[in-house]
């Protein structure tokens, strides 16, 4: 009994220490976003919303935020669509050399983003193609396609085959089967891969940094903010992004994934 109590005590101390470590930077970030002063370090001078006003008044920051949203949704939608079609093709038809092809689709997952970005950059440079949000989007599809494909492909079990056969038997064409039967059945994994892609693209820095020029995404804009050193404005935008992500996550958890838990 005593030993059990002691180990529980140790467990509590350890967990508390690690949670402290995990939350320390976020807590400091959010706290000093309300700093009434120019430096986001102690002492805390008082509560102020001036830095939040500052970021919402910052045209470049807001433009970058919008760019990020556009690139994240568009590239994720493309990655999801391509991934779903490929998963459907591989799961339902026998193709020669399909193991190799599947390996090819997964391959970008194993390569650093820096290398993917550099490869695209060398080609674009040589071809003389200008950098823009389009090139960033292309890069983000490259990194998210393997993810979408893998998630959707792994959820495409054999048990769905007979349902599709039944639909075809009842007169649905291939495209209708895919749209009206397969896609709705796989909706949880399609949505999961879409939202995962959105978060990855939204947060991605190196590809967005190397493949964009004048129009940049939010992480790149925050990066240039950092050049001016410690600034409560960075705290404010960081806190906004954090709280918005948490809110989105909470909504998803309460709507999308709640259903799955209570069948």
């Amino acid at each position: 009994m005593l030993r059990h109590r002691l180990s529980t005590l140790l467990a509590v101390i350890y967990a508390a220490a690690l949670f402290g470590f995990i939350f320390l930077p976020v807590a400091v970030l959010v706290l000093f976003s309300f700093q009434d002063g120019r430096l986001p370090v102690p002492p805390f001078n008082g509560f102020s919303l001036q830095w939040y006003e500052a970021i919402f008044a910052d045209r470049k920051l807001m433009a970058a935020l919008l760019n990020s949203l556009i690139v994240a949704t568009a590239s994720s939608a493309v990655a999801c669509l391509l991934g779903f079609m490929a998963a459907y093709g591989f799961a339902r038809y026998k193709l020669p050399g399909s193991v190799l092809q599947r390996g090819l689709l997964i391959a970008p997952m194993t390569v650093s983003y820096l290398i993917i970005a550099l490869g695209l950059l060398t080609v674009l440079n040589t071809l003389g193609i200008g950098l823009s949000l389009w090139t960033v989007g292309i890069g983000h599809v490259v990194i998210n396609l393997p993810l979408c494909f893998a998630i959707i492909y792994s959820s495409m079990g054999d048990h769905h085959v007979n349902i599709e056969r039944a639909a075809r038997d009842l007169g649905a064409s291939d495209w209708k089967v895919m749209l009206l039967v397969t896609a709705p059945m796989l909706m949880p994994s399609i949505l999961a891969s879409f939202f995962l892609s959105v978060t990855f693209s939204w947060d991605e820095f190196i590809i967005a940094f190397l493949l964009s020029r004048f129009n940049v995404t939010l992480p790149v804009e925050i990066w240039s903010l950092l050049r001016s050193g410690l600034n409560p404005k960075t705290n404010a935008i960081g806190s906004v992004v954090f709280l918005a992500s948490i809110a989105l996550l909470a909504i998803l958890e309460l709507t999308l994934f709640r259903k799955k838990n209570t069948p």
Binding site: T8, A11, Y14, A15, L18, F19, F21, I22, F23, L24, P25, V26, V28, L29, F32, P40, V41, P42, P43, L82, G83, M85, G89, F90, Y93, K94, L95, Q101, L104, L105, P108, T110, V111, S112, Y113, L114, I115, L118, G119, T122, V123, G139, V142, L145, D174, T199, D203, F205, I206, L218, P219, I222, W223, L226, L230, T234, I237, G238, F242, I246
Partner: protein, 287 residues
Amino acid sequence: MTTLSLENADRRKAWGFVAPALVWTVAFFVVPFLFMAAMSLWSRQGREIVRAWNLDNYLRFFGENALLKGLSNSLEITLTVTVLSVLLAYPLAWIIAERVPKRFQRTALILAILPFWTSYVVRSYSWLLVLTKNGVINQALLGIGIISEPLEIASTRTATVIGFVHFFVMLLTLTIYANLVQLSPNYRRAAADLGANGLQTFWHVILPLTLPGIMTGAFLTFVLCIGDYITPQILGGNNELVLPQIIMLQIGRRADLPMASALSIVLMLAVTLAYALCARWLKIDRV
């Protein structure tokens, strides 16, 4: 004949589904990658890239101390981070899986990875706030009187390691927890039933069974860590450059894409080597 034509029609349809993804991957991943590999064998002269095939870039890499140091810095930091993250995350995952009541586990886990949802750039920046000369840590330590001079943690390797470990502890807690809870509780019961004490059960049964999960997480940590530019750039500063920082220098200031390409290939070889070393555990069979 009819079956054959049916098969051909099927095959055409299948290609229709699969082709867009394959074309995209080839056009925007395979071709650029091969092009980059080719470029690593060219060189830059002035502002021009000269297509003269040679190994100069690689020879320069192995000849120049500053560049080699970049690789060794990368490897040292990455290995330290990987080992520390696993050692810190395993007990936390264990506590959540074993000591937290079932219905609170999901909440505990979501809490443990909550700071994931800060932007990656901002996360490194927040550590800078914490570790900087007049930051929270230094002021707290000075306040208690443990130190009399502020510690120089920011812009050191320690800061880089702390920033990385923070991120990967969250990631590994998630993967190790997932591994722990999917083990049948009967393994533990069987071991106890056959006379093993808690430590023996852990050492002979639980640890070996979670090893594949640990290795997968560790490999992921290695890959993401060694290829990252942000964390060492923000937290480590310019004192001890890691490979990605050197690559970015080649791209930016020196506009030397051939050298950047060669260094990227070196980076990739390091990852491949790590994979070869871990492959034994990554693919282990499980019942």
